[in-house]
């Protein structure tokens, strides 16, 4: 069965500094990987995805993620954090057999002014 691990419950970073939110996955076959963001009392907003091709994926709001097959990782990054990036971030992997997404436990990103 597929699984996703987000090892950090919370990441704190100062505004203007680079940020990384970690994600590792376990899936049979080729993974479809996704990052979503959830602001308080809001739905899930799509940030970016990796399906195939270039290992560095660029997404919304200046975020990017690097797919690393050997380390089974898909870490989310941004070169310069904004206070408005503070939110809950979810990594997810598609279960090819069932099409549904399996989510990690989420990482709360706190960007301090």
């Amino acid at each position: 069965a597929q699984s996703v691990a987000q090892p950090e419950d919370q990441v704190n970073v100062a505004e203007g500094n680079p940020l990384t939110v970690k994600c590792t996955y376990s899936v049979s076959g080729n993974p479809y990987l996704f990052w979503y963001v959830q602001y308080p009392n809001r739905g899930l907003q799509f940030l970016l995805k990796y399906i195939t091709g270039d290992n560095l994926v660029k997404g919304s709001y200046g975020f990017e993620a690097e797919f690393n097959k050997s380390q089974t990782s898909f870490h989310l990054k941004k070169p310069s954090a904004l206070v408005s990036d503070s939110a809950l971030y979810f990594c997810a992997v598609r279960d090819g057999g069932r099409r549904a997404l399996t989510f990690g436990s989420g990482t709360r990103l706190q960007v301090q002014p």
Binding site: Y32, F34, Y36, Q38, N41, R42, G43, L44, Q45, F46, K49, I51, L88, F90, R94, G96, R98, R99, A100, L101, T102, F103, S105, G106
Partner: protein, 113 residues
């Protein structure tokens, strides 16, 4: 606007009542999902329909019954509501194998008192 829309956004009800949550997507997707987000923000798949056919039915109480009248609609009916059913329920949709992504509704916050 193209989207996944859920109604109602908030639902407060007493234990033992029966309630329904409606979901509609106008994206032309062939697969729809219900996810539950618990108080710890963990997201878990409940049900999935592909072209009106049930393809995922996770281990949820049989008080929960999904219904898909057509591929653009997926409703969730809950009988005999319990305190533990309090959560945020998200509807989502995708097309094919999900390579183009998954679109989520804004969620329904269910509170059982």
């Amino acid at each position: 606007d193209t989207a996944v829309s859920q109604t109602p956004k908030y639902l407060v009800t007493q234990m033992g009542n029966d309630k329904s949550i409606k979901c509609e997507q106008n994206l032309g997707h062939d697969t729809m999902y219900w996810y539950k987000q618990d108080s710890k923000k963990f997201l878990k798949i409940m049900f999935s329909y592909n072209n009106k056919e049930l393809i995922i039915n996770e281990t949820v109480p049989n008080r929960f019954s999904p219904k898909s009248p057509d591929k653009a609609h997926l409703n969730l009916h809950i009988n005999s509501l319990e305190l533990g059913d309090s959560a945020v329920y998200f509807c989502a949709s995708s097309q094919g194998q999900g390579a183009s992504g998954y679109t989520f509704g804004s969620g329904t916050r269910l509170t059982v008192v």
